[in-house]
């Protein structure tokens, strides 16, 4: 009879000091660790479930406005500061860490149509229904001083939007035409128009900063070149575009939030076909903002929800809604790419996590490793039906849910009708038009 003895060398498992890490002996022989795919599958399933369990995106609601929040602006240098303009002409500056309003200004009579901070963060500009452009200091007035704008420009027409240049002391307003202003002057340096409709929003390209994009209420998106003081191109879509946002990492891509419930990502060099049509909203999309990483964007809609879309996907990865949140008018993605803010009709600004199940605060290295692993597992098994089902499942308000059903039926019937028409007409007379091309009416040079 052979006697088997256990013999162990303490060097293999005893730490030299108590501060050493524990040695975990591993044997990577694959025969000792069978069933790798099923085991990882189960892990992926669990990770997906846990992600849903921990998905608690809502962080805070900033209340204090006395009318609907019409516009939001980020501070370019500080993550904690947010500016918001309301429909009663009030501008508030918020501190996000304290979740408190730090300053309130009665800036305009009527709506505050647009707000933007200067690139250095020392002052900000507002435009309102009272046909004025006002510049304000970011810091509050001293004790006993009146709250007064640094500069007020009285215009001839109503300004509907404003954006500041990313490097130079130049800002652009829109209304009847797009005006480029030097900060030192009271008249615009140049104004560009093409057609005679009111322009509702203007945005500077953050990378090639001389390019501007605007959208007018005659359903078109116009691009301008500030240096040559000329419009570049115009694309006419099915319906009106409410606003556009440039991708901060890809100089020629921008996304347009359209009234026809969709968002369109364009390559500005090829406007005849959008790069991607993002559809999931069930009502007009009112605002869009890119994540600073340029990989995702968030859109606010009239359907009382905000959605997060990956840039290259046509369907949203996340939808946020609250019972009390009404039509969302403006939305911003914070500059550290971790949070989303949205201002809505019912006078509140809400703060959300960009990743619903992300743990806030400091993570230990093990936590981080586990997190990464789970993320990769979810990615790996994302096509498996159970994982997919759990990952995609969202509770939606009844209104949105029924709207989705309804629109699906509508789309289906439209598709069926087109198919029937194609079937019963001469071959080739009813061409197949891709979804991307369908919504572009024309490109005007």
């Amino acid at each position: 009879m052979k006697v088997k003895m256990l013999s162990r060398n303490p060097d293999n498992y005893v730490r030299e000091t108590k501060l050493d890490i524990q040695r975990v002996p591993r044997n990577y022989d694959p025969t000792l660790h069978p069933f790798e795919v099923p085991r990882e599958y189960v892990r992926a399933l669990n990770a997906t479930k846990l992600e849903r369990v921990f998905a608690k995106p809502f962080l805070a609601s900033l209340d204090g406005h006395r009318d609907g929040v019409n516009c939001l602006a980020k501070h370019p240098k500080s993550l904690t500061t947010v500016l918001s303009g309301a429909c009663d002409g009030e501008v508030k500056i918020w501190n996000l860490t304290r979740r408190k309003c730090v300053r309130t200004i009665q800036a305009h009579e009527g709506f505050v149509r647009g707000i933007c901070a200067r690139f250095c963060g020392t002052s900000f500009f507002t435009v309102g229904d009272d046909k004025t452009v006002k510049q304000w200091k970011m810091d509050g007035p001293g004790c006993g001083e009146e709250e007064e704008p640094l500069q007020t420009i009285l215009g001839k027409t109503v300004y509907t939007g404003i954006d500041h240049h990313w490097k130079d002391p130049v800002f652009a307003t829109c209304g009847q035409q797009v005006d480029i202003w030097d900060e030192q002057r009271t008249s615009p340096v140049c104004s560009m128009n093409w057609g005679f409709d009111s322009i509702c929003s203007v945005k500077f390209n953050p990378i090639e900063t001389f390019i501007l994009g605007s959208c007018a209420s005659d359903r078109n998106i116009v691009l301008y070149d500030m240096r040559q003081a000329t419009p570049l191109k115009k694309v006419i879509l099915d319906m009106r575009t409410n606003t556009i946002c440039w991708n901060p990492m890809e100089a020629f891509h921008f996304t347009a939030a359209n009234e026809d419930y969709n968002l369109y990502t364009f390559d500005m060099r090829a406007l005849d076909t959008p790069v991607q049509v993002h559809m999931d909203h069930v009502s007009a999309v009112l605002d869009v903002d890119y994540s600073p990483t340029g990989k995702e964007f968030v859109s606010a809609s009239f359907d009382k929800s905000i959605r997060i879309f990956p840039v290259e996907r046509s369907r949203s990865r996340e939808v946020y809604h609250t019972k009390r949140m009404q039509h969302v008018i403006c939305v911003k993605w914070t500059s550290d790419s971790k949070y989303i803010m949205c201002g809505s009709d019912e006078m509140n600004i809400r703060l959300w996590k960009a990743n619903a199940s992300e743990k806030l605060g400091v993570l230990s290295s093990r936590e981080k490793a586990a997190n990464d692993y789970n993320q990769k597992l979810k990615e790996k098994f994302q096509y498996h039906p159970h994982v997919k089902r759990i990952a995609r499942h969202r509770h939606l308000p009844k209104s949105i849910y029924s709207q989705i059903q309804e629109q699906r039926i509508m789309r289906e019937s439209r598709r069926r009708k087109e198919m029937n028409r194609r079937k019963h007409s001469k071959p080739g007379s009813v061409p197949v038009v891709s979804e991307r091309k369908k919504h572009v009416v024309a490109v005007v040079k």
């Binding site: 009879m1 052979k2 990577y28 694959p30 660790h33 790798e36 795919v37 085991r39 990882e40 599958y41 892990r43 240098k77 993550l79 001839k156 240049h165 490097k167 130079d168 035409q177 480029i180 030097d182 340096v189 140049c190 104004s191 560009m192 953050p206 990378i207 090639e208 001389f210 070149d225 240096r227 040559q228 003081a229 419009p231 570049l232 901060p248 990492m249 890809e250 100089a251 020629f252 891509h253 060099r269 600073p292 990483t293 340029g294 990989k295 500059s335 550290d336 790419s337 971790k338 490793a369 990464d372 692993y373 993320q375 597992l377 790996k380 098994f381 498996h384 039906p385 159970h386 040079k445």
Partner: protein, 762 residues
């Protein structure tokens, strides 16, 4: 329309050229200089004259008086005529007059030049501008293509993209808000503080600075060299001392001791010569030490330690030796200083004393005269030794000597006897043990002989020394005893032996001693052999047993081999190891003796094959066209006719695998977890399967690989503002000019736009 316009343009141009080229004293220009009305009239006349000259356009010229839509300054119009007005028409009338050659020339020059195109309308122009600007912008933007592509395909993107430049704060600033936290840091901090170590350059304490100032360079160099040498020397001596300390050689130590003794003697001699009183004092000191020793119970085996050792001594050789050593020490200490009896050389005696101050007592005792008590014990010892040597079975007990040396005055007979018995028994045990030990240590007899011869040589040498130095008499028994005592570990005690040369007196005694030594040693081998015999016997017995066992195992193997032969495994090497396994197999076989698994399996397989076979369809209707009723079967013919044979299904996958059943039915429970269609980016199912089959967990991958596999695609840091990508971030050069300055340096467009703006405001 077009033509007129062209002409107009041309004329305007020609006029311009005229303005430039014509000399001021030219008549035409002079006429122009005149008043408007006058000039007009004259011009009219001129034109009329030209008209009359040609005689062609008379009626046209009459029409000219009417208000025309297009009025030019030359009143030249082809309107209504439907003809084109060519330059030649204008030149024709000029031909004859030589005064107008200059004009002619100029006009011909104009004619040779190309005409400008018609300026496009505003909308067209703007469109062209837009297109140009657009293509320019697209070109500028297309430099980002590669960057976008790279970022989209990147394994990992870390935001913010721009690296924060490492800022180097001056060290004082860093130190301002730094505190020593850990004890080590505090210690270091204190040290630095104590030395007033400055943190910045020149990093010298005030003391160091002062010393630098105090010493010149050469001095410092010399001093440094000295210090270096001293350090080197010190280290050398240290090393030497360490080396010497490590030396195990007894001979060396012997020599060293001798040297020391000699030195001591010399010193004493000198002392005696120089200062006899001091020498006497020295002697007294030694004497005093002896007395103290005699008085005290030190080294007399009466202490706690000694008692514990006495108990241990029964079982432990070392303990016994330790006790013996202690006793020996006691003896040495209590021996009286030898007073030189015969010779008056006090110095010599003293010399001896200093040489071995501890070990001189006996001689003195001898010199003092025969101490009957001491003598008695000595003699007795000797006798016992002799007895022991003779008998060889019973080496004289050591504890016996203790008991006598302990200095207990009264002879406790009973106790003594008891102790003696104890010791005897113990020594017996020890002897046998020793014999056993001796055998494996060396070549049995030869080894012991060698030891013996060595001892002999030693003793001879000693005797020689003694004779030379004319050592005083000494009881032979003592030496014998000593030697005998040392016998168990002769090598260890060599230096002790050598330390007392003065005790061995005569050659005869030494011879005797040699005999004594010899005898037991001679006797030893016999005992050893006997012991061996005894020991060998059990071994042989064991061997026999083993053999028996082996055989029995062999038997087992042979009985079993037939059943194992089919498994063609080279078992020769692992036979021994296989024993256990085989036993286990046997056990399992016994345990599951009843059930035949293989048969069951085959049966199961047959059943499943049968169940999965497509069934024949029997459409026979009993009673149709035939008699029906109980126990009436449809005819075979009919059955054959209406039986629809099922088509042969595809061959089973397990038809060539006898011990496998492959279930070819689709498992719906598993299917619920499987991907039904190939997902988008993959073009072949193998691609997709490969991505699934490669595990990414740390269970299957090394730490490094795991980290690499699970690295997230986008990494962002909390609390860091991510700015839009810049040209500098990706290595492009951004335009040095600001957009505003570029715009303002474009005056034409700007002015135009301002004009536009003005018009729009108006």
């Amino acid at each position: 329309m077009h033509a007129t316009k062209a002409a107009k343009g041309l004329l305007a141009l020609s006029q311009q050229e005229e303005l430039v080229d014509l000399p001021t004293n030219y008549p035409l220009s002079a006429s122009e200089d005149e008043g408007d009305g006058d000039g007009e009239r004259k011009h009219q006349k001129l034109l009329e004259a030209i008209g009359s000259l040609s005689g062609k356009n008379r009626w046209k010229s009459a029409e000219r008086s009417e208000a025309s839509l297009k009025v030019s300054e030359f009143n030249v119009s082809s309107e209504g005529s439907g003809e084109k007005l060519a330059l030649s028409d204008l030149l024709e009338p000029v031909k004859p007059s030589s005064s107008l050659t200059a004009v002619k020339k100029q006009l011909s020059r104009v004619k040779s030049k190309k005409t400008l195109d018609l300026p496009l309308n505003k909308g067209e122009v703007e469109r062209i501008h837009r297109e140009v600007a657009f293509s320019k912008t697209s070109q500028i933007l297309s430099k980002w293509d590669s960057v976008v592509q790279k970022n989209r395909e990147a394994e990992q993107l870390v935001f913010p993209l721009e690296k924060e430049p490492a800022s180097f704060a001056p060290i004082e600033q860093v130190f301002l808000d730094w505190k020593a936290r850990t004890p080590l840091e505090q210690e270091v901090f204190n040290l630095l503080h104590k030395n007033k170590q400055p943190v910045t350059d020149p990093l010298l304490t005030p003391v160091e600075k002062a010393s630098l100032r105090a010493m010149s360079l050469e001095e410092a160099k010399i001093r440094r060299a000295e210090l270096q040498r001293a350090r080197a020397l010190q280290s050398y001596y240290e090393a030497r001392a360490r080396r010497m300390k490590k030396i195990k050689s007894k001979k060396y130590h012997k020599i060293v001791k001798k040297g020391k003794a000699k030195k001591a003697i010399k010193d004493f001699e000198q002392l005696r010569k120089v200062d006899p009183n001091a020498a006497l004092e020295e002697l007294e000191k030694i004497e005093k030490a002896r007395m103290m020793e005699r008085m005290s119970l030190k080294h007399q085996n009466s202490g706690k330690w000694a008692k514990s050792k006495a108990i241990m001594a029964k079982y432990d050789l070392e303990a016994r030796q330790a006790m013996q050593e202690q006793l020996a020490k006691n003896k040495e200490l209590t021996q009286k200083l030898q007073v030189v009896s015969e010779s008056e050389e006090e110095g010599g005696a003293e010399e001896e004393e200093t040489l071995v101050p501890d070990a001189v007592n006996e001689a003195q005792m001898n010199a003092d005269g025969p101490n009957p008590w001491m003598l008695r014990t000595c003699n007795r010892d000797a006798q016992e030794d002799e007895v022991q040597a003779d008998s060889n079975e019973l080496p004289e007990p050591v504890a016996h000597e203790f008991s006598e040396n302990e200095g207990n005055e009264k002879p406790e007979a009973e106790e003594d006897v008891l102790l003696k018995e104890f010791e005897e028994r113990r020594s017996l045990r020890k002897r046998s043990k020793l014999n056993q030990d001796a055998k494996p240590a060396g070549g049995q007899d030869s080894a012991t002989k060698e030891v013996l011869s060595e001892l002999k040589a030693l003793s001879q040498k000693l005797s020689k020394d003694n004779r030379l130095s004319k050592k005083p008499k000494e009881s032979p028994a003592k030496t014998v005893l000593l030697v005998q005592d040392e016998e168990p570990a002769p090598e260890e005690e060599e230096p002790l032996l050598l330390q007392r040369p003065e005790r061995v007196q005569t050659l005869e005694e030494l011879e005797e001693l040699g005999k004594h030594d010899c005898l037991p040693n001679k006797e030893l081998p016999g005992a050893a052999v006997e012991g061996e015999q005894v020991r060998r016997n059990p071994q042989e017995k064991l061997k026999g047993k083993k053999k028996e066992q082996m055989i029995s195992l062999q038997k087992l193997l042979t009985t079993r081999t037939p059943s194992v032969t089919s498994v063609a495994v080279p078992t020769t090497v692992e036979e021994q190891e296989d024993e256990g396994e085989r036993d286990q197999k046997q056990m399992i076989k016994e345990a599951f003796a009843g059930d035949d698994v293989i048969k069951e399996f085959l049966k199961e397989k047959r059943e499943t094959i049968q169940a999965n076979k497509p069934k024949d369809l029997d459409l026979t209707l009993p009673g149709w066209g035939e008699w029906g009723g109980m126990d009436l079967k449809p005819s075979a013919k009919k059955r054959r006719r209406f039986l629809i044979k099922a088509p042969e299904g595809p061959p089973r996958k397990d038809r060539n695998l006898p011990n496998v059943i492959i279930n070819e039915k689709r498992n719906i429970y598993a299917a619920a977890h499987q991907v039904r269609v190939l997902p988008y980016p993959f073009t072949h199912h193998q691609q997709f399967e490969r991505t699934i089959q490669n595990p990414i967990g740390s269970t299957w991958n090394t730490q490094r690989a795991f980290q690499k596999l699970t690295a997230p695609k986008v990494v962002t840091k909390a609390g860091h503002i991510i700015k839009p990508i810049k040209a500098e971030d990706v290595g492009y050069q951004s335009s040095p000019k600001s957009d505003l300055s570029v715009m303002q340096s474009n005056p034409k467009r700007r002015s135009k736009h301002q004009k536009q703006l003005k018009s729009s405001i108006d």
